[in-house]
Symmetry: C2
Subunit: 306 residues, 2 copies
């Protein structure tokens, strides 16, 4: 098969997908049965259950004051970046795009929460780089290591141990139960995981932009060299940080062995459906992302590989 | 992406699939629940329920004598070919492979059944072309137009109107309920349908060779010109029929419009897992077909696109 034949086949495939599938997410009023859920799994199709978790202890009782009282004195792992770009493709200032990993540090929970709330109050929904204050940085508690059974264990007694419809359908308990805390500056770059996910909005809002697995040709996946933010006060640091970021400087990851081999590159989407004109492939214009905003108590089924 | 990169990616994909999946079909002792069935649908994985239809009226009571009594005087549509190659890639005798459609004719049911049984008795399991008698042909009642609600309507009262686990899981009644009657000379070429199928063996045996959808690169799909067998006694006919076939000659299908345009070619697999050395692609050796033989009363879930 020649390259242009492959291209036109992919165009036809994606166009047909768009014709046959809505880009509006299905909305349910109540949790599905295990069988109903399994139908969505079989079709690899997301849905949202509006207010599906309204009766959870967490959605009824967790707020800043409550979390402060439960977690006072606890250290939590925080991802720190200048722009909210934790695990995201990022220009390195020298003409290349690298995979930027956050600076990770343990912070006292109440300090972390104060920072996140204060930042939101002072410039809510402000993603404009020019308006950021000197020393401003984005802090996002985003560990994915089953953190409710680890660093947030004091909250675990108030969390559902599994979601019945998913446990019964998939015949297994969750591999991980995670809580994430951020503000409107917290962003997660377009990526995919090989897990079936149930996401519940406990407080605040989150805006998802979802692409079906088939639209992989649109996302301009590239093998990126890994780099990690570190705190630095040097002049060199300020240059690399792109004009802000609380002394955060992006350093290329070190060689991993005595031969000086570079660490493995990370295959990652470099196209962003919210900035569609940058880094587009010849297929990107065919992507019709499914957008869904979650309100407190809403529950989202995010299928594997979306 | 360059051609050799695509090739090595496909090789890796198929090799990994083989490592992660068994080529032995899963065997159940009883019908699955709708939820259990939906798990197989979600995984696009076949299973067989051994003796799952043992209590059906059809499996308990249908035999040649019974069918004769119920269908005496009825005409049924029969696919007639020299080699059992109805809807199969076939050499046209002039160096090309064409898509051979059977000669279709309405036959008195009892005559048809007599022929099928007599042929089986005289040379059971004989696929050797040399041994075929002059004038021998293969007759296969293989309509797929929901035939139990049409030409076999007199049997329909004894047939399950749906299979509960599939109806409940998929939330719909079957699109078609078909019965097929043939003998060991009846062959169906490697093909795929975009339907979830439940196949029940009422009498005799059938041997399936199944490939997962992902193994499409192995099957050497080609766009074949359509041709149809017709009955002919001419010399020309005998030459084209490949040395047998009861006066059946393969004729290229006629132009479809006044411009003389050829009828559309039919994309079809030309590689046969049972003759793996012929027409192989560079991926065919990676195919590990799933083979399953059904005995009377066995039930097979044949997923869409396998």
């Amino acid at each position: 098969m020649k390259a242009h034949e492959i291209e036109s086949s992919i165009v036809e495939l994606l166009t047909t997908y768009n014709e046959l599938n809505s880009s509006h997410i299905e909305e349910l009023d109540e949790e599905p049965s295990p069988l109903e859920f399994m139908r969505y799994v079989a079709r690899n199709t997301p849905f949202v259950v509006r207010r599906g978790a309204r009766d959870w202890v967490a959605t009824r009782t967790w707020d800043a004051a409550y979390l402060r009282s439960r977690l006072a004195g606890n250290k939590v792992n925080v991802a720190v970046t200048p722009l909210g770009n934790a695990d995201a493709p990022t220009p390195d200032g020298e003409g290349h795009t690298v995979f930027a990993k956050p600076h990770e540090e343990d912070q006292e929970f109440n300090e972390f929460l104060d920072y996140v709330i204060q930042q939101e109050k002072s410039s809510p929904f402000n993603s404009d780089q020019q308006a950021r204050k000197k020393g401003d940085e984005v802090r996002y508690a985003q560990t994915q290591n089953d953190n409710l059974r680890h660093e947030y264990i004091t909250l675990f007694s108030q969390v559902e141990k599994s979601i019945a419809f998913a446990r019964i359908a998939l015949q297994r308990d969750p591999d991980a139960i995670n809580m994430w805390i951020g503000n409107s500056r917290s962003v997660t770059a377009l990526h995919r995981d090989n897990y079936e996910n149930i996401y519940v909005q406990v407080a605040g809002r989150k805006h998802f932009v979802l692409l079906p697995p088939m639209f992989q040709p649109c996302v301009n996946e590239q093998d990126l060299e890994p780099a990690t933010y570190v705190r630095s006060q040097s002049e060199e640091g300020r240059q690399h940080e792109g004009g802000g970021g609380g002394g955060l400087v992006l350093r290329m990851d070190e060689a991993i062995d005595e031969n000086g081999d570079r660490p493995p590159r990370i295959p990652f989407a470099t196209w962003d459906p919210d900035i569609p004109e940058v880094g587009a492939t010849s297929y990107s214009h065919l992507a019709e992302p499914m957008r869904v905003s979650l309100e407190p108590g809403d529950m989202l089924y995010l299928p594997a590989m979306w």
